[in-house]
Symmetry: C2
Subunit: 315 residues, 2 copies
């Protein structure tokens, strides 16, 4: 059975909130996956008991160190080999875990993804993606949302390929429409990288490229299933969507559509282009967000996304 | 009295909607400014009569050509010297107009700003800005929102200076807080340009620099009065704010705060860093948007913003 590693020490409200969310995930994934909690074993069992959870529903993998949320990622990852994050990646790379998820230090998660698990052959730069909820129902995949700033055109082109495979495999979209996030619809619009990426995408027979898309169409779903951008732009775009939720909440506006912009709802962003399933949760994850993050890790592992990406990149 | 030139032929709904909006502006600016309508004189007088407007409330400056909305800006501007846009800039450069405003071809407006009016001494790149409404009341200035893609760090630094002068002069903020739009709060976050710009801003004794700001704080007003970014990012940010309005309208949500994101409300974006007041309206401007665009042109001219920017840049 699939073993999903979960960093019990990662997140602003860890380990309590992580354990509560993981316990719920155990229920949801009953018969589909087991949850391996990595972290301080005494703390984990103590918190389980305090909350009426049988620690035996988890496999607990004890670790003596913790990468704190605001530590310098490269240094912390190196200096703390027995941290829950470093051990998680080690077990994932060895195949002892089928997926690894953490709401901890994002930078350290990216370091582990690239250095310990490693990038798939043919992938220039792994990236992270988020499914943006649409007014029409369904979602649009936005990528990269923060892994790669200063992306070159060939990297954006690969995001389009990675996004297409994700949309087919995880979102069940047969022939995903790919758009480039830009400041005008015409081919010659945008910055230098966008103009070059537009041409590469337009020239590709493998992509269902529908052209540039402007951000005023971000939530209407009329244009694209996959929206490609540099990680600097995508991260701003994602956080501005959180602002949308926050504005409406402060105005007392309440609609199920808006609630989807609450980060609790999307739970986690998969790292695309690495050799094993990795999902990064939001730092401020609540139990609900943790449950969703773990479920996303299950989806990514179960769907065979990594193998599908590798096949496409060797194609 | 101040003479404000208005391109009667510019905008998706020109000239009818422009004339209706300009007639309202004549009322609002009675005793403060006269409106010079540039365009097809017969059409203008005909539309005035059809709508019960006395053409005599305007000064009509006849032009025989029109730069269409989707023409290539540089070529169209050059090949149509008797267009309403080209004549507007010519009169502005000669001092026969005190300000010029158009909801027409944005590219042509930028070409005219830079080539006919000219950039102020010491300004690397003019830029365009928008006041973003805040939940706390008041506005935050966002710039650049689309004039300059691929801005270098020294250009971003100048946006901070231009924004500071605008916030003092037009928004009446004594010591405007300046932030850099980024994907994390720490100094080392962001792309290469953002990291370099952060250092330049932090080192400047002339700026009230408060550090990086993430887009989830875009509407809360807690962080900054002026938010600086590259024009590619800023344009996406602005259009995503329009998406916010559009989402809420489609959900049937109705709050005065949200209505401010309707482009009709902000009317126009001043071009900062050129030798005379220029305001660019939204292509899809309604009469209300046109009235606001013209009022913005009045504010920019009346406040002496151009002179204040020039003094600061020579400082």
């Amino acid at each position: 059975m699939l073993r999903i590693g979960v960093d019990a020490m990662g997140g602003d409200f860890a380990p309590v909130q992580v354990i509560l969310g993981a316990a719920e995930a155990v229920q949801q994934l009953s018969g589909l996956a087991t949850i391996v909690l990595l972290g301080d074993a005494d703390k984990i069992t103590g918190i389980c008991r305090e909350n009426g959870i049988d620690p035996g529903i988890f496999f607990i993998y004890p670790c003596t160190q913790v990468v704190q949320m605001h530590e310098q990622p490269v240094i912390a990852y190196k200096q703390k080999p027995d941290s829950s994050i470093a051990r998680g990646f080690e077990l994932l790379a060895k195949g002892e875990l089928g997926a690894f998820a953490s709401a901890g230090n994002t930078g350290a998660m990216l370091v582990g993804s690239v250095t310990t698990v490693g990038t798939l052959t043919g992938v220039f730069r792994p990236c992270i993606s988020v499914e943006i909820p649409l007014l029409t129902g369904g979602n649009m995949l936005l990528l990269d949302v923060g892994f790669n700033t200063d992306s070159k055109a060939d990297v954006l082109f690969q995001f389009a390929e990675l996004g297409t495979i994700y949309a087919k495999t995880i979102m069940g979209i047969h022939n995903p429409r790919v758009a480039l996030l830009n400041i005008g619809e015409e081919a010659e619009k945008g910055n230098m990288v966008a103009r070059e990426a537009y041409q590469m995408m337009a020239d590709s027979p493998d992509l269902n490229f529908v052209g540039n898309m402007e951000a005023n169409h971000l939530y209407d779903g009329a244009r694209a299933d996959v929206l490609v951008c540099d990680g600097f732009v995508g991260n701003i775009c994602l956080k501005q969507s959180e602002a949308l939720y926050s504005v409406c909440r402060q105005l007392g506006l309440n609609r199920s559509f808006l609630k989807q912009f609450n980060y609790e709802e999307y739970g986690g962003t998969p790292v695309l282009g690495v050799k094993a399933p990795v999902v990064i949760g939001h730092g401020a994850s609540t139990p609900k967000a943790i449950t969703r993050m773990i479920y996303k890790a299950y989806e990514v592992a179960h769907s065979g996304l990594v193998v599908k990406i590798q096949q496409q990149m060797l194609h």
